[in-house]
């Protein structure tokens, strides 16, 4: 990455996000035709699924940074991992909110235990919310960085295992399984719109990530400065 691009990371991400999301939203409302069965409601797909995928991507990014921390013992990865999890939780909450509204309009209830994605995100939300409790409870230092990193890694291991558990639980709890009527093959216009929205959400996550990371780094440096001056 050329130095000018790196120095302007916040601007690049934010501008890209703005452009892509505005374009994607416009396409989702004006260009894409109504889906055959679900109708107008289906347009929620263009905002809900990109947000969900971006949340997964953030948690994966956080786990990657956590692995780098444990591997190299380089402390800067701690803040990067923490920020990624932070952004992941924001998108996770958004997934739950948008998913709940979609459930309400599709099936009449604000919450359905039969929706695998919703339940999985609820479990993940509980898990990563506890991540913050863990960080607030342990004093800052290498120990906290290590513990947070291990926890972040456990999170990504939990994702597939939880999903399997939820699938198995369906036979137990006998809910009607709710899936949205997303056809197996998207049409060209649907796919294009989805792709632009997804790229836009990833850019938004990147923008929030860069801003949040700068803020956290500033916090840390100011704390060090304060200690040096006193």
């Amino acid at each position: 990455m050329s130095t000018s691009l790196r120095n302007n990371q916040p601007i690049v991400f934010a501008a890209t996000a703005a452009g892509l999301l505005l374009l994607g939203t416009a396409l989702a409302f004006y260009w894409v035709p109504n889906a055959p069965i679900e109708g107008f409601r289906q347009r929620i797909f263009y905002v809900h699924v990109p947000i969900a995928l971006t949340a997964y991507a953030s948690f994966a990014w956080g786990a990657w940074k956590a692995l780098r921390l444990l591997w190299t013992r380089d402390r800067r990865y701690d803040l990067e991992s923490y920020t990624a999890v932070h952004i992941g939780v924001i998108f996770g909450v958004l997934t739950l909110l948008t998913g709940s509204i979609w459930a309400r309009t599709s099936w009449g209830h604000w919450w359905v235990w039969g929706s695998r994605q919703l339940v999985l995100f609820l479990v993940l939300f509980l898990f990563y919310a506890a991540y913050f409790m863990l960080r607030f409870s342990v004093d800052p230092g290498p120990r906290r960085a290590n513990i947070s990193a291990v926890y972040a890694l456990f999170g990504v291991a939990l994702i597939p295992v939880s999903f399997l558990a939820i699938r198995l639980a369906e036979d137990l709890v006998h809910p009607v399984v709710f899936t949205h009527d997303v056809q197996n093959r998207l049409t060209a216009s649907q796919f294009t719109t989805f792709g632009i929205c997804f790229a836009g959400m990833l850019a938004l996550a990147g923008s929030l990530y860069v801003n949040e990371l700068t803020g956290k780094r500033l916090d840390a440096r100011l704390r060090e400065l304060r200690e040096a001056l006193q």
């Binding site: 409790m133 863990l134 409870s137 926890y151 456990f154 939990l158 295992v161 939880s162 639980a169 137990l172």
Partner: protein, 212 residues
């Protein structure tokens, strides 16, 4: 084979400590029986058998939590953990030794809990026993690692349940499923998968949790 002799030495230490002080295990036994009695009053008369099984698993989960909260207390109070970490043994041996200790406590608690459940509610089948045995491994593996994490922070008794419960949801699914459905094999296999994945993860990452 010094690795395994370290492991057994550590496990023996925990079990001997408990034998002498006798504080954690009696509390777990009393807790699980009390919880089962509370569940009797909490369930309406026409509660299904499956609901009762589900509540048994809840009781086992919280009894495990009770035992785990105490898992690193002794180490912390005597700063033994620092000494153990400085010792020339593999840190994961500390984890394994602890896990064996926790497993022993869990099995002891279940030797009381399952007959009590059979007495108060409904007979206990082999699937339930198999599920409990497999679940114990997962609970002990994950619980020990999380207990070590929690012991590094403040408000550790509050923190451990928060960390523990989301991670063990799959165990509840596997356990209840094996006890209740017509196809326990699938759920038992799932419990085995959970145990394998998280035991290996916990074993490998324990070192990072206790060192700087």
């Amino acid at each position: 084979m010094t690795y395994f002799s370290d492991v057994f030495a550590l496990a023996r230490k925990d079990l001997l400590l408990e034998l002498r002080s006798r504080d954690t295990l009696p509390a777990m036994l009393l807790f699980v029986v009390s919880t089962l009695v509370v569940f009797h009053f909490a369930l309406p008369t026409d509660a299904s058998d499956t609901a009762e099984t589900g509540l048994l698993w809840v009781a086992l989960l919280f009894t495990a939590l009770l035992g785990l909260v105490r898992a690193f207390v002794a180490e912390r109070e005597e700063r033994v953990l620092d000494g153990l970490v400085l010792a020339p043994c593999d840190r994961s041996a500390i984890w394994l030794g602890k896990v064996i200790g926790v497993l022993a406590f869990l099995v002891a608690a279940e030797l009381v809990a399952l007959p009590a459940y059979g007495l108060f509610f409904q007979p206990v089948g082999w699937e339930l026993v198999a599920a409990v045995a497999l679940a114990n491994i997962g609970l002990a593996a994950v619980g020990t690692l999380l207990a070590a994490m929690a012991s590094a922070g403040r408000a550790r008794e509050l923190l451990l349940p928060l960390l523990f419960l989301p991670l063990v949801i799959p165990i509840v699914v596997g356990g209840v499923g094996a006890s209740v459905t017509d196809d326990p094999g699938r759920y038992l296999a799932f419990l085995g998968l959970y145990d394998a994945v998280f035991a290996i993860l916990s074993w490998a990452s324990f070192e990072y949790v206790v060192t700087e």
